[in-house]
């Protein structure tokens, strides 16, 4: 009996040992850590990602399904024409006769005080406008001889003469213009637009990028999706060679075989869906099908040879080459097919005056000639097809250029050229919701700073979103614990150019 009691005693003792404070602190701490870790890890699971207004079931299945904006939109789609390198407003739109009188005179020191330039050092001289200007259209807006065709459509556009930016180097300025931030990592305008609105045509990308002459300095981030899902990034299409890289079937793989492959993968995916019911799987199935459809549709739309001669003549296209004219015609075709956002980049506008091509009196004329007729044709073509009223066309660069001749490292450049200048430059908009022939903002007598109606880059973005039916202050995406917007914490809609 004693032994039996002993046994009980021992069991109680053992029990007590594992119930002691010492045991708890010594042996169970890892377990507590584990418990805590579990709750930390939960925040990494996909279920904890904050649900945005835009994540509906329909969206999960097809992230590009068309959606209605919160407010009645003025336009359905956007064509954004960006002149990479920053075109000289003083030779194109901003007529400054006073600057002509000051030509070759030393720039007053007061103008340079506290200012930083990308290249100008020392004391530059003033550089008068190298183009002659005239008033055109019923609006009587000024236009340079560099753009003779553009006079035809000048009454359709609204000029912003005093845009300003706080960046004076290409990369950051381009990022600011297209993503609302001079640093990497934010979604571009087109990504925001396709995220918020989806796209009409399910056989084409919702956000198409066409470039001529070269890639923008900021790289592909200017059409990147930032923190938005990657399906909203711009798809670069080329007017020469394959329209979309890696979209063509590989050698030896026929269309039929490709179709079999896609349907086999999709049926396996579908079984996966039946098993786990994860809508992400359906989304993957949709992506495969969309890619397959695009393989047929994209080359069709990208083929400008199917257009009638008269249209090709109108734009001045060069089939088989990479040109801005081709891209303008393609932009119209895309818009006609129901693409949401078409972004055009034309490279080669950085007119420093270091050589012939970058001089404002020679090279710039060539660049202007390359865009003059195509842009004019684009506006007229959209108009005659009834598309101008539901499309917004934006034209501009990342900043403007100085009224001074560039003096690189203190020495005057060989050719007539201007340095980067963010204080005042010209942009224009045309199309749905835009007041035709409007003029907003003015620069001082030499075009150095805006004196009236200054608008910022964020103002322009706010206006574009407004026309698409968004309040830029409410159109947000939750990321890293806070809502982000395209216009960050700034920007207001430029009412003065709205119809």
């Amino acid at each position: 009996m004693d032994n039996y009691k002993k046994l009980i005693q021992e069991q109680l003792l053992r029990n007590a040992q594992v119930n002691s404070r010492r045991h708890f602190l010594k042996d169970c701490t890892l377990g507590i850590g584990g418990l805590a870790l579990g709750s930390f890890l939960q925040s990494c699971s996909p279920n904890s990602i904050p649900k945005n207004n835009y994540s509906t079931l329909e969206r999960t299945l097809n992230p590009l399904a068309p959606l209605a904006p919160p407010f009645a939109p003025k336009v359905k789609s956007v064509i954004y024409l960006h002149m990479v390198g920053a075109p000289s407003q003083l030779e194109m739109f901003d007529y400054k006769p006073e600057l002509q009188k000051l030509h070759n005179q030393k720039c007053p020191k007061s103008l340079l005080e506290g200012k930083k330039f990308a290249f100008i050092r020392g004391e530059p001289t003033m550089l008068g406008p190298q183009a002659s200007f005239s008033q055109a259209g019923e609006s009587g807006n000024w236009i340079s001889e560099y753009l003779p065709h553009f006079k035809k459509v000048i009454d359709d556009v609204a000029f912003l003469k005093a845009v300003h930016t706080d960046q004076f180097n290409h990369g950051p300025a381009q990022l600011l213009m297209h993503t609302g931030s001079a640093r990497f990592g934010r979604p571009s305008l087109g990504s925001w637009a396709t995220y918020g609105l989806g796209t009409e045509n399910q056989n084409l990308p919702g956000f198409v990028v066409l470039s001529s002459g070269g890639t923008p300095d900021a790289g592909k981030s200017v059409w990147g999706n930032g923190f938005l899902p990657s399906v909203y990034q711009g798809v670069q299409c080329r007017s020469k060679g394959d329209p979309v890289l890696y979209l063509k079937d590989p050698k030896g793989v026929s269309r039929g075989l490709k179709k079999d492959i896609v349907s086999a993968i999709n049926s396996i995916n579908h079984q996966e869906f039946l098993k786990y019911e994860d809508p992400e799987v359906l989304s993957r199935i949709n992506q495969y099908e969309m890619a397959y459809r695009m393989q047929i549709t994209v080359p069709e739309v990208m083929d400008i040879n199917s257009e009638p001669e008269s249209t090709k003549e109108m734009y001045g296209v060069k089939p088989g080459e990479e040109s801005f004219a081709n891209n303008c015609l393609l932009a119209r075709k895309m818009i006609e097919e129901g693409v949401r956002f078409v972004q055009l980049y034309d490279w080669g506008w950085d007119t420093h005056g270091t050589n012939h091509n970058t001089s404002v009196d020679l090279g710039l004329r060539n660049k202007c000639r390359e865009i003059d007729r195509p842009i004019t044709a684009l506006l007229l073509d959209l108009k005659q097809r009834g598309l101008l009223d539901e499309t917004l066309i934006v034209w501009g660069g990342e900043f403007g250029r100085t009224p001074m001749q560039e003096t690189r490292e203190g020495k005057t450049n060989k050719f007539k050229g201007r340095d980067h200048h963010g204080d005042a430059f010209t942009m224009w908009m045309a199309g749905g919701g835009i007041k035709k022939g409007a003029l907003h903002g003015a620069t001082d007598e030499i075009g150095f700073s805006g004196v009236e109606g200054r608008v910022s880059v964020h103002d322009i973005q706010a206006t574009i979103l407004h026309l698409l039916g968004f309040n830029h202050e409410q159109f947000t995406y939750d990321y890293q614990g806070r809502p982000f917007r395209l216009t960050d914490v700034a920007g207001s809609v430029i009412q003065e150019i709205l119809a």
Partner: protein, 462 residues
């Protein structure tokens, strides 16, 4: 002399009203305390005598104040009526205590409860007059306000586009803007910088930095200066954390100061352009679509149509009118249009471009009574039968570009009531005669066929 004494008497109303509230409430509490033993009848008589007298005094001073101080009848009618009722009830209660036979018959509970109710309600309505009707609800959390169905206060100032020119610029535009954006700091209770912006007198008198309007050099006015300073400037007004003036508001205030900051001049006489005011006009949320409200379409029907591949979305998120596009349905044929008849009253925008439709669609289309935009571009439509649509009183745009359009049908469109744009550009047809289109409709028909001819300078390479 007598007049001003009478006015002074009226001004005592806000003081005197507290007496009956206190007396009568205490009296009612004593009635409750003494309800069983009924030992303190003498005290109760005393309390209700003075309660009734002070109520009468409050009523008289109140009437004087109403007479002298220009209150609107519509604002005070309930406060006044209930004040009279309170007076009557308090005397009735007093007479009840001193055993007037008539008043003795009224049950005491009825008297007590109705007096309590009327007293509190009258006091509350009076409080609303002096402190504003949102005095009590204003500090509540917004969530609770939403739950109670209370609208957030309107922070938008709007002008009527038709008759705004008859308003005085200051009274009709400037002061309402100041009320919304400046008054929270520059009012009689809290005059930051000792500046009052609640009326013209206050503006003209200026604040601790002197005059805020400079009549000689308007642009040197402090108001003009501070509202134009950049947001990050310390002196910028309104302060960074407050609701900012919009660009249009800054513009109209500046223009008013530049034009001499007059109190009574009417907008019409100042010659200000319409655009200065256009952003204050009520926003037209429907755009070109009918300004009609209809119940939403059957969700199930819409989902079924979407499953067919038709794009259907409201014209904006909360709208009930729908925009329908068959851009993804190149195989769309006439019969399919019948399925859209299920939501025919909701469709205002219909894109049938690039589909296989034929002229027989017009007999279905004529049933879409609110149809505003119709796109038939890049189809085999010839336009035969398009006249059937003449009954669509909202139809504004028709796109017939690149079709088999027979120009002979154009006269059928002349009688359409609302047309603003008809796009009839044909890429391979160039010879047509627009002479038979009436002069007033020429702008409606867009023939297109624009040319951008090469010019000699196109060939010069610099």
């Amino acid at each position: 002399m007598i007049d001003s004494l009478v006015t002074l008497l009226g001004r005592f109303h806000p003081l005197i009203v507290h007496l009956p509230i206190g007396f009568l409430l205490l009296g009612l509490m004593m009635v409750f305390y003494d309800r069983k033993e009924k030992k303190h009848l003498g005290m109760l008589k005393f309390a209700f005598l003075w309660g009734a007298i002070s109520t009468l005094l409050a009523l008289i001073t109140g009437l004087v104040q109403y007479d002298q101080e220009g209150y609107q009848w519509s604002d005070i009618q309930w406060h006044l009526t209930l004040g009279v009722v309170t007076t009557v009830l308090s005397f009735a209660y007093y007479f009840h205590f001193i055993d007037f036979t008539f008043f003795k018959r009224i049950p005491e509970k009825l008297l007590a409860f109705s007096l309590l109710f009327v007293l509190i309600l009258t006091g509350h309505l009076g409080g609303n007059l002096t402190h504003g009707s949102d005095h009590l609800t204003e500090p509540l959390p917004q969530g609770l306000k939403d739950a109670l169905g209370m609208e957030p206060p309107s922070v938008i100032f709007e002008l009527n586009p038709d008759d705004f020119r008859g308003l005085p610029l200051y009274g009709g535009v400037i002061q309402p803007i100041l009320d919304l954006k400046c008054l929270s700091c520059h009012n009689k209770k809290k005059s930051k910088g000792e500046l009052l912006l609640n009326d013209y007198k206050g503006i003209v008198s200026g604040g601790e930095s002197g005059e805020v309007i400079n009549f000689e050099t308007p642009r040197k006015s402090l108001i003009w200066k501070y509202i134009h300073l950049p947001l990050k400037d310390e002196m910028h007004m309104p302060p960074k954390a407050k609701t900012q003036l919009t660009k249009a508001e800054i513009k109209v205030i500046s223009r008013w100061i530049e034009l001499g900051a007059n109190e009574n001049e009417v907008i019409r006489d100042l010659g200000l352009e319409r655009s200065v005011f256009s952003s204050f006009f009520p926003k037209n949320t429907m755009g070109i679509y009918p300004k009609i409200e209809i119940p939403s379409a059957n969700l199930e029907v819409v989902e079924n149509l979407k499953d067919l591949g038709i794009n259907i979305a409201p014209i904006y998120k909360t709208a009930t009118f729908l925009e329908v596009s068959c851009v993804n349905m190149a195989h769309f044929e006439d019969q399919l249009l019948d399925s859209l008849l299920l939501i025919k009253d909701h469709i205002v925008y219909l894109d049938l471009g690039k589909t296989k439709i034929t002229d027989s669609v017009f007999s279905s289309l004529e049933q879409f009574q609110y149809l505003t935009v119709l796109k038939l571009d890049n189809t085999k439509i010839t336009g035969k039968g398009i006249g059937k649509l003449s009954g669509l009183i909202h139809l504004k745009q028709i796109n017939l570009t690149n079709t088999n359009l027979d120009f002979e049908i154009l006269p059928a469109l002349f009688s359409f009531p609302a047309l603003t744009d008809v796009f009839i550009f044909q890429k391979d047809k160039v010879d047509y005669n627009s002479d038979n289109i009436p002069e007033n409709l020429k702008a409606v028909f867009e023939f297109g066929n624009y040319k951008v001819d090469a010019i000699p300078s196109d060939k010069i390479i610099y």
